[in-house]
């Protein structure tokens, strides 16, 4: 039904996330933009605040570290490729660890699956020995397009309220 080259939907989604992580780690941003996301993508990183346990959620529904669509992501990717993008020149070295991939919903009718995964980004600049770490759960919706998965919705749920890296000039 899914036309996938894998033992399970989960495994095929996992492969997709690994491919994506490779592109981002290698800073193939234009290719990421061209091949990984759909043109109706919704991409967001909501701001988290520490709240009492009784609160329903710690995540804001109106404030974000990134709130993007295809066009604004294109701007970011193009800017990062610019020779005057100081925050990434020399570039930070980022390694994404993607794990705990689980399928939370399958919707063959519109060729979409919902997945969750854990993400750890290990980030080093220059001669740093202490990495900046970013830890998050990602909630993604993937869509089957021409026999491949594409990312059509992503919410990055950070574990951080105060972000311990000086600038988010990378894609999570």
């Amino acid at each position: 039904m899914w036309d996938i080259d894998a033992r399970s939907v989960r495994e095929s989604c996992e492969k997709f996330l690994y491919t994506e992580a490779q592109l981002l780690d290698d800073r193939d941003l234009l290719e990421w933009h061209e091949t990984i996301i759909t043109d109706d993508i919704e991409y967001r990183i909501p701001i988290r605040t520490t709240k009492e346990r009784s609160a329903e959620t710690e995540f804001s529904d109106e404030s974000f570290h990134m709130i993007e669509d295809w066009g604004s992501l294109k701007v970011r990717v193009e800017r990062m490729e610019n020779d005057f993008a100081w925050s990434e020149d020399p570039p930070s070295r980022n390694r994404r660890f993607v794990s705990n991939v689980r399928v939370t919903d399958e919707n063959p009718e519109n060729a979409e699956v919902s997945i969750r995964s854990n993400l750890l980004i290990h980030r080093l600049r220059a001669s740093d020995t202490d990495p900046d770490l970013l830890s998050a759960e990602r909630r993604d919706t993937l869509r089957r397009v021409d026999g491949s998965w594409q990312l059509t919705e992503r919410t990055v749920l950070l574990d951080h309220t105060v972000i311990g890296t000086p600038s988010l000039s990378i894609i999570l």
Binding site: T49, K51, S63, H65, R76, E88, T161, I163, G164, P166
Partner: protein
């Protein structure tokens, strides 16, 4: 770090007093001392003499609209609770239980009628009043409850929704502190009622808090180089992209604070707001002179000493989409020498349509935030300063930073006597450092005052 406080030479670090003296000499020459951007003693003195004496920004009233709403805030590094009490009054309470000192407020925000201490259960109303002491009769029959309410900041005042506090009991009132700056703040906070959208961005940056404060005083010289990548992709303001003819004015001598304003002659520009937004404005709250400046305003920015900055710009996060007027309010919080935490609140005119406010938010994120296409490059540059400032060699060569742009024969910037507002105002404001010198003069004066 072991420091030689004797003020000696020969490679050992000199005392703060010697640094302040050398800073005074540097200022005479239109320069500042690099060492102060990463120094333990300077940092301690700043907490005591600047953050504990100035009027420091706490938050906007729109962040705590309902009775009982609270937010954690800080003055320098001291923890405070910004709360709207049961009478609707705004309080700024020191977050420390009067019993054994622990912090009462463990959430960044919430709503409560009382703060109850988790240690022994002392309970305070959101006015700060102590109303509950378990076993009081059996244990503390003589405890004066009225005496033991939470300590509040000695001075709390609001200016058009912006709440400031001063820990100095002898502080002048806020109006005096802001002085002629209020004439300019009115353009941003009085012409329209502004509100904060959601929660602030918070992130740590390895640079001293003074660097961005000074930058927002008016370092317009860095824009073509520092922000070239963002301008190249087409998301800058109409003035930065050269689509609109404009004149940049640098405004200082307004109580130790400073502003920069681009003016687009003859246009109803209003920082890029469209007519459906500007018609919700209140021109009657401004003088005619103020209104004319507001009307022709492109990008505007500034800093209220010590660490509250803002930038107001018409821009977009995507050249394919309409430009909107986005407002980012900033606080540069000291964390340790050479390190700070940035707080960024995105604001919009309260009476603008919701869809428009959503776009204001998105554009704020895409330009000036932790991920902002402009901001990230500032930070990538600023974080190179503290390492150099901490150098032993910095003292040996008496390393200074240069703020003499605009001085001397035939420089471009010139005082504009026809400007209708207060202060000393330069045309070609991107070609003078007088604003940034104002920051360092105010810094030097404030930190030296008690000594």
């Amino acid at each position: 770090m072991a420091q030689n406080r004797s003020g000696g030479t020969g490679g050992s670090r000199s005392s703060i007093d010697s640094k302040l003296e050398r800073m005074a000499d540097a200022l005479e020459e239109g320069e500042a001392l690099l060492e102060i951007l990463h120094d333990d003693e300077v940092f301690e003195r700043e907490l005591e003499e600047i953050f504990a004496k100035s009027w420091v920004y706490i938050g906007h009233e729109s962040e705590i609209p309902e009775e009982g709403d609270y937010r954690q805030r800080s003055i320098g590094k001291d923890p405070f609770i910004f709360v709207r009490d049961e009478n609707g009054e705004v309080q700024v309470l020191w977050d420390s239980c009067r019993h054994r000192g622990t912090k009462l407020c463990r959430a960044e925000k919430g709503n409560t009628t009382h703060f109850r201490c988790p240690y022994h259960g002392w309970t305070y109303r959101n006015t700060g009043e102590l109303v509950g002491v378990p076993q009081k009769g059996n244990g503390f029959p003589d405890l004066d409850m009225e005496e033991k309410g939470l300590h509040g900041a000695p001075n709390v005042e609001s200016y058009n929704g912006l709440v400031f506090a001063s820990l100095d009991p002898d502080a002048p009132d806020l109006e005096t502190y802001l002085g002629p700056s209020a004439w300019y703040l009115d353009l941003y906070f009085k012409l329209a009622d502004m509100e904060v959208i959601g929660d602030p961005h918070r992130w740590e940056i390895d640079t001293d808090w003074k660097t961005p404060s000074e930058n927002f005083y008016g370092d317009n010289y860095h824009v073509p180089m520092g922000h070239k990548s963002a301008i190249d992709v087409g998301i800058g303001s109409a003035t930065a992209k050269g689509e609109k003819e404009s004149e940049l004015y640098a405004i200082s001598d307004v109580g130790g604070h400073a502003f920069s304003i681009y003016q687009i002659p003859g246009e109803d520009f209003f920082w890029g707001h469209p007519p459906e937004v500007t018609e919700t404005f209140h021109p009657e709250r401004l003088t005619d002179e103020q209104y004319q400046i507001a009307r022709q305003s492109g990008v505007s920015l500034g800093t209220i000493f010590p660490n509250l900055s803002f930038i107001y710009l018409g821009g977009s996060d995507d050249p394919e989409k309409d430009t909107v007027g986005t407002f980012c309010l900033r606080q540069w919080q000291p964390i340790e020498p050479g390190k700070m935490e940035a707080w960024n609140w995105i604001m919009a005119p309260k009476d603008a349509p919701q869809e428009y406010k959503d776009r204001v938010y998105e554009v704020g994120v895409g330009t000036f935030s932790l991920s902002g296409n402009f901001e990230v490059d500032d930070i990538g540059i600023w974080d190179g300063i503290p390492e150099a400032a901490d150098s032993v060699f910095a003292e040996q060569v008496n390393a200074t930073t240069v703020f003499s742009m605009g001085r001397g024969e035939d420089t471009l910037a010139e005082v504009d006597d026809s400007w209708p507002g207060p202060g000393t105002v330069y045309r070609e404001g991107g070609m003078t450092d007088e604003n940034q010198l104002e920051f360092y003069r105010k810094w030097h004066q404030t930190i030296s005052e008690a000594h």
